[in-house]
Structures are given as structure tokens and as C-alpha cells.
């Protein structure tokens, strides 16, 4: 693709590249310092700034992974993230599609009914009572069903559907396709970028959620990763303040509480960070429309 550029455009591009590079450096910095800290040995002071710690150790990670509960947490979090995201996506698309159609009877009413709930909700107590009476208490589904639909995400999908030219659909209708067929054959394939966006949003919010687990789950085997990591961090700092109970760890420990904290952040975020590059191909400029039309 040899595009001739004017001088102005070239300067603009150069500046653009530079600005992006600087911005990235500033954004990489906190993450990098956490990563570096997570490898720091206990002898490295937690308050010092460094590019890479003078003494490194894997003991911080060993400590995090030595806790057998972390695997339980990973299992439960992956479950809620994968199942929750798939179900949410399926629901969102199927609600968004009818609402995107101007000819849906009483469309304004249905939309209002849904958007209203974004601003008015009953609060934690009735929601807890509801989950209890649905027999979802202490079940992994309690972390999925109450947030099955996110109105914001759904509206974003709906508006994307609306921006797809009607002409595509009309020609399919003439060929005798019904609404379902149009949704699956035309609309969804055209909407991969927005679907990827919503998948990312939903997955990340599932991955990071922990308070619902505290409310709805009492069984230790159903705890999510975030609650277990919070506990590991706490244990790390508890060792610094043990009041009674005497000698805690007799051998000089090679972990420091700040380094454990850094390691848990890395452990908690890396898996979900890795998901992004896989979705990225759907954000690449203008591939799909052209191929579909051709």
C-alpha cells in the first residue's frame, strides 16, 4: 500500500508516533514497577524505586502458589468468567436485536422498561433475599444470573446493529429469510468488533468481581480468585504485626509483604490481560464489511 503523503501528513504521523510512545511509557511504568517488585527479595527495601531489584527471588510467587486455595479460586473465576460471558453475550445479542428494529411493536416501551433499571434498583437487601429464594445462595450461579444482562452493554450492541445498513437485510428478506436467519447470518457476522468489545468488558468485570462472592458464597470451595488473593495479601501483612503467639517463622523468611502484594496483582491480572490480544484482530480496520459484500 504505497500512499503518497504530503509533508504536513508526514510531520503529523511522526508526532503521532512519538506521542503514542511517550504515553505508552507512562502507562507501562506502574505495571513494570509492580512486576519488578514481585521478584524482589525481602532484603530489597519496598520503598525504593528500581528498574530491576538488586536481589531477585521467586519466593513471592512460590508463596502465592503454595496456597492450595488459589487453584480453587482460579477454577471458580474461570468458570464464572467463561460461562458468565458466554451467557451474557447470548442474552445481550438476543435482546439487542429486536430492540434495534424500528418496526418492533411498542419499541419505546420495551426500551424504557429496560433502561429504567440502569438508574433504579432495589439495592443489596432485596437482591440478597431474591437470590436466597431462588435457591441460588452458595451456588456458583449466584455469581452469574444476577448480572446476566448489562443494560449498557446491551444498548451498545443494539446501536451497533442499528448502524448496519437496512439494505443488506432487505435483500435477504426478499430471498425469504426470517428475522432469526437474518440475525445469525448477516447481523452477527457483521458485528464482530462490537461483540469482541462487549466480550472483553463482560469478561473483565467477571474476572475482577469479588464482593458478590462475599455476599452469596459461604463455602470455601466456591470462592473466587480475587477473594483468595486478598486473603494472601492480608496474611502477608499480618505476619508483620503478630501480637501474641510468639516466634512466627523461625528461619529468616525471604518474602516481604509488599512483594507478595505485587505478586498477587500480577497473578490476578496477567490471565485476563492475555485475553486482549486474542480479541484484537476484530478491531483491525475495515476487513469484514468488504469481504462480506464481495
Amino acid at each position: 500500500m504505497a500512499v503518497r503523503r504530503s509533508k504536513g501528513e508526514t510531520i503529523f504521523l511522526a508526532v503521532n508516533y512519538l506521542v503514542m510512545a511517550l504515553l505508552c511509557l507512562s502507562m507501562l511504568f506502574p505495571f513494570w514497577s509492580l512486576l519488578a517488585k514481585s521478584f524482589a527479595a525481602a532484603s530489597v527495601p519496598s520503598t525504593q524505586l528500581y528498574f530491576w531489584p538488586s536481589q531477585t527471588t521467586l519466593a513471592n510467587y512460590a508463596r502465592v502458589f503454595a496456597n492450595k486455595n488459589i487453584w480453587i479460586g482460579f477454577g471458580n473465576t474461570i468458570f464464572r468468567t467463561v460461562v458468565g460471558t458466554i451467557l451474557s453475550l447470548v442474552m445481550s445479542i438476543h435482546v439487542a436485536y429486536p430492540l434495534s428494529k424500528k418496526y418492533l411493536p411498542n419499541r419505546t416501551f420495551w426500551t424504557s422498561l429496560i433502561v429504567f433499571t440502569m438508574f433504579f434498583s432495589g439495592g443489596m437487601i432485596p437482591e440478597y433475599i431474591l437470590v436466597r429464594s431462588l435457591k441460588l445462595y452458595n451456588s456458583r450461579w449466584a455469581l452469574i444470573f444476577p448480572i446476566l444482562l448489562n443494560t449498557f452493554n446491551m444498548i451498545i450492541i443494539r446501536n451497533y446493529f442499528m448502524s448496519i445498513p437496512d439494505s443488506l437485510e432487505e435483500s435477504a428478506k426478499i430471498d425469504g429469510a426470517n428475522d432469526l436467519l437474518i440475525l445469525y447470518r448477516i447481523i452477527i457476522p457483521l458485528s464482530f468488533p462490537i461483540i469482541a468489545t462487549v466480550v472483553l468488558w463482560t469478561a473483565v468485570s467477571h474476572w475482577n468481581a469479588w464482593f458478590d462472592s462475599l455476599i452469596y458464597i459461604s463455602d470455601g470451595n466456591k470462592q473466587v480468585l480475587q477473594t483468595i488473593l486478598r486473603r494472601i495479601v492480608l496474611e502477608g501483612s499480618l505476619q508483620l504485626m503478630e501480637l501474641q503467639g510468639g516466634a512466627m517463622a523461625m528461619e529468616a523468611s525471604n518474602v516481604s509483604s509488599e512483594a507478595i502484594k505485587a505478586a498477587t496483582v500480577i497473578v490476578a491480572t496477567t490471565p485476563i490481560l492475555v485475553a486482549y490480544p486474542f480479541l484484537q484482530k476484530y478491531f483491525v480496520k475495515g476487513v469484514l464489511v468488504g469481504s462480506l459484500k464481495g
Binding site: 514497577s33 418496526y103 451498545i156
Partner: protein, 303 residues
């Protein structure tokens, strides 16, 4: 006559409606069934009697809230800070997405994109410590840098004049990459033929953005803007709570931090419901108004 036609219309669109039913049922069960909890704002909550059995007290909690000088100030601060967010943090991800879109090297673009969303995953507790060191007037790197140009030093976190600006900029930095994703998705769906046509007409990059790119992402920008209006009372509790201090209460105390210090999380369910009801009624109205305006201008909206 009109009734029959409605039924006929539903029958004609039966597949569409079939798709909608499970969703509507979910909304009824999970959103409308618990909504009776809102009545708490008009009741004195009793643990023993439950929400339904508690006695009505009318507008008591609302008049009480507005009689608190701290509440009124938190109310205005929230509004002002969020207005700044709207002014600066709302357009920033759009501009970022446009700039990113101009990058020709796919590899570089992907790397930038991936890095830019990293800060979203760091909590304010962690970031607050870093900003405290970075923004210190005597030892912070930023003031050292500004000092080279002969500006400053500024006490960004301790001076009421700069605190709101600091909140807005740090939040912008944290969220710009994450918030740009939806715009990148919209950009990726623009028909390349449109660009080719524009280029044939002799348009330069800037004209291309004005005449092709922006109109194509206008629908999504509109919807995001409407929702942003609904967040004018939104909660940036974590950020403010971790960054503020007594010297900047005047300008930085927001609804979330104020109600936190009131201890509303514990037993005063009625008061906290009243707070959220007030802000949500206003937010909802703002959304309706913005939506109506948007519909008039470019025919895109939530309704």
C-alpha cells in the same frame, strides 16, 4: 380497530418478540422484583420488620440530607468534577482512537493498544501511592521535570487550586486506553470504500477524518455521550478516597466519600437509599433530556 392492528403487528414480528421474551423475563425477576427496596428512602428501616413492614416516614430522610452542609457541598463537588470529566475525559478516548487509527504499522498499533489499557487493571490504592511520589512538590519526578522549564513546583494533591485538575488528569490517564476500545471497534467497521472515494475526491487526512471517520462513528459517540450525562453524579469514590486529604475537602469531597465518612454503609440503609434515589432521579432526567436533544440533531439515541 387499533387493538387488532397491534396484535397483528406482534404476530407479524413473532420471531423478533420471541427473542425479546427471555430478556424481559430476566429484567422482571432480577430488576423489577427487588425494586421495592427503593421504598426504604421513605421509611425508617427496621431489621425485624423487614423492608415491607417498616413504617413510612415520608420525606424525612431527604430533608435531613439537604440540611447537612457537607452533603450540599459534596453534591456540588461531584457535579463540578464530573463536568470536567465530561469536558476532558469524554473526548480524550475518541481522539486517542482516531490517532491510533492513523498508525500505519499494525504491530506498533497493537502494542500501543495493549499497553494503553494496562492502567485500567491497577486499583486506585496501588496507583495512589505512585501518584503521591510522582506528584510531590519537592521529590516528585513531575515537578522536577517542570522545574527544568522554570515552572512550579505545584502541590498537586495538597493545594485546592490544582486538586480537581489532578483528579481529572489522573483519571484520564487511567481510563483513556480502556475507554477507546469501543471507538476502535466502531472505527474498524468503516467501509474502506468510503476512504477510497474520499481520496479520489482529493481529500487530505484531516478532511477524511472530518467527512468520513467522524460521521461513521457518530452513532456510538452519541450513545456514549448520553450515558456519560447519566454519570454526572457517578461515583469516583475509589479515586477520590485514595487521593484526597483534609486540605482539599473543600473542592474534592464527593458524594461517595461524604457518605462513606457518614458511615452510611452500616445501619443507615434508609439514608443511603435516599442518597442514591436523589442522584438517580437527576441522572435519569439528564439522560432523557440529552437523548431528546440527540434525537433531534442526528437521530441516534437510546430510545
Amino acid at each position: 380497530m387499533k387493538k387488532t392492528s397491534l396484535i397483528q403487528r406482534y404476530w407479524k414480528n413473532k420471531y423478533l418478540f420471541l427473542l425479546l421474551i427471555p430478556g424481559v423475563l430476566w429484567y422482571i425477576v432480577f430488576k423489577y422484583f427487588p425494586i421495592y427496596g427503593l421504598t426504604l428512602a421513605f421509611k425508617d428501616f427496621s431489621f425485624r420488620k423487614g423492608i415491607i413492614g417498616s413504617s413510612w416516614v415520608g420525606l424525612k430522610h431527604f430533608t435531613y440530607l439537604f440540611s447537612l452542609s457537607g452533603f450540599r457541598r459534596a453534591f456540588t463537588n461531584t457535579l463540578i468534577i464530573n463536568f470536567y470529566q465530561l469536558l476532558f475525559s469524554f473526548p480524550a478516548p475518541i481522539i486517542f482512537a482516531l490517532l491510533l487509527n492513523e498508525i500505519v504499522h499494525i504491530g506498533y498499533k497493537k502494542v500501543v493498544q495493549t499497553i494503553s489499557y494496562l492502567p485500567h487493571f491497577l486499583s486506585w490504592v496501588i496507583l495512589a501511592g505512585m501518584f503521591m511520589q510522582l506528584l510531590s512538590p519537592s521529590t516528585g519526578a513531575l515537578n522536577h521535570l517542570l522545574g527544568v522549564f522554570g515552572i512550579g513546583p505545584f502541590y498537586f494533591l495538597g493545594d485546592p487550586r490544582y486538586f480537581r485538575g489532578t483528579l481529572v488528569v489522573t483519571n484520564l490517564w487511567k481510563s483513556i486506553g480502556w475507554n477507546s476500545i469501543v471507538y476502535l471497534a466502531a472505527l474498524s467497521n468503516i467501509d474502506t470504500q468510503l476512504y477510497e472515494a474520499a481520496r479520489l475526491d482529493g481529500a487530505n487526512k484531516f478532511q477524511e477524518i472530518i467527512h468520513v471517520t467522524l460521521p461513521s462513528i457518530a452513532p456510538i459517540v452519541t450513545v456514549m455521550l448520553i450515558f456519560q450525562m447519566g454519570k454526572l453524579f457517578g461515583d469516583n469514590f475509589d479515586q477520590v478516597f485514595n487521593l484526597y486529604n483534609a486540605a482539599v475537602y473543600e473542592v474534592g469531597d464527593v458524594l461517595g466519600t461524604f457518605t462513606y465518612r457518614m458511615g452510611l454503609r452500616d445501619m443507615q440503609y434508609s439514608l443511603s437509599t435516599a442518597v442514591s434515589l436523589v442522584t438517580n432521579v437527576i441522572s435519569f432526567s439528564l439522560v432523557i433530556i440529552t437523548n431528546a436533544i440527540a434525537k433531534r440533531i442526528n437521530d441516534y439515541g437510546i430510545w
